[in-house]
Symmetry: C2
Subunit: 271 residues, 2 copies
């Protein structure tokens, strides 16, 4: 724990962290920001992921165990003024804890190999998903449903976006995430690895209720507003929709994804 408090918004340390709020700099520096006690706790559980910690005096009192843990791991812990934290934070009410982490994504095959000795049986693939809150909520649901990996294709939002990290509620650190995979190549590889690829789309002929989901499955989820483009639908083994029993036109993307992933999780476990 540094004895002095960071109060200067233009100090090199603050500026180096601040620039990680921009995607281009995250890619260049190979680092991102994980904000809030939940994200920091999950980041600290992984070897070598957290690089430094920023904390306010107040947050230190609320979460002494996290500061202790970071210190024991030999990480630089910077006490920051409320003003500096507000500058680094991407939330309206900063929670006073923020970790600088190295990027955690892995290549697709490495992600799928993490399931070994068994073969991967549940994967979520995000194609053209643009809303970071939705993408993070899908990551969290995929983690909860026991998915083996979440794949962000080249046309999807950056999972290291602050809103996405926050919405994932730590799940970004729980399951292997793949980034920037071209969708056709990713689908081909998933099929080679024995997964049946299902596109979730309102245009599906089949509903969740009439497909057998007991086998290994990769779900493709698309854009919030306009679903999946035809070329992506054509890659899938089948197009499946969540049945709408009432008058709603559709479901929110993250909601639909959770219903699909949990249907798979259940079908794979409950005889």
């Amino acid at each position: 724990m540094a004895g002095t408090e960071l109060t200067n918004l233009r100090s090199p340390r603050v500026k180096a962290a601040r620039r990680l709020t921009k995607r281009a700099f995250r890619e260049q520096d190979r680092k991102f920001l994980a904000e809030g006690p939940q994200a920091v706790r999950e980041a600290l559980k992984l070897d070598g992921v957290t690089l430094e910690l920023f904390t306010t005096a107040e947050a230190e009192l609320r979460h002494p165990e996290l500061v202790t843990q970071a210190t024991l791991q030999g990480l630089p812990v910077h006490r920051a003024s409320g003003e500096v934290m507000a500058e680094l934070s991407q939330t309206v009410t900063p929670q006073g804890l923020l970790a600088v982490c190295r990027l955690v994504h892995v290549p697709l095959d490495e992600a799928l190999d993490r399931a070994l000795p068994r073969e991967p049986k549940l994967v979520a693939l995000l194609a053209h998903v643009r809303d970071p809150g939705n993408a993070g909520t899908v990551m969290r649901a995929a983690d909860a449903a026991g998915a083996d990996s979440v794949v962000f294709t080249d046309a999807s939002v950056d999972p290291y976006n602050g809103k996405c990290v926050r919405a994932s509620a730590g799940s970004l650190f729980h399951l292997p995430v793949v980034i920037g995979a071209p969708v056709a190549a990713a689908v081909a590889r998933l099929k080679e690895r024995g997964l049946r690829v299902l596109a979730a789309d309102g245009a599906g002929k089949h509903t969740l209720d009439d497909v057998d989901l007991s086998g290994p499955t990769a779900w493709i989820f698309g854009n919030e507003a306009w679903g999946l483009p035809d070329d992506v639908l054509a890659l899938a083994d089948d197009v499946v929709r969540v049945p709408i029993y009432g008058q709603a036109e559709s479901l929110n993307l993250a909601t639909a994804a959770a219903v699909c992933l949990y249907s798979s999780a259940r079908a794979q476990r409950v005889p």
Copy 2:
């Protein structure tokens, strides 16, 4: 269609609509604002719900059918300047269409009677839900899952909150909504009407996978951060959790609600 454009932010008409962004005035005036083409379209489908329409010139060109429909129904349609629309809108990028509507909620028994001649079989009850986006997303999921009603207990957010209306994506107009019901009284009445009351909570002994959901069910969903208080849990026939197969600590409230509601919908339909 009025020939002149409303440009004065302080005109009585604009002020009368603007005050409906506050809950106290919505209750006093018995009116609320429904923003965006989707909400306006659904509002116009219901007899006597829409009272007046505000539109920008641009939105009129994009959605002429909605303006025509409002005019044919004899509703006052006010062309508003972009500045006036921004004043009335509760979104960062106003979509240029905004309806003033009368409140649509009904007493609990009336909501349940809408299912007649059959008995109600799926109800969502929100207790202590505070986030309007979450509440609206639950309404949308309940509608999609074919629920008979959504009940907001006295300690929950106002469903006429602009964010909630928007997140509901029209569902506020689709299924009967009940407001301000004391939770114990609502639960008692739901039981009397033949519904088994299940509290969705991470503390549940049973998971979704090991309860029989084929009968009529009312789900209680609680607060985003701390779940359901003991006195509410005690009212339920059973406490059920969504199984977590991975490392996630929990699910987002709206996600968990969708998974529960769809599990019920499926169990009630698929043998």
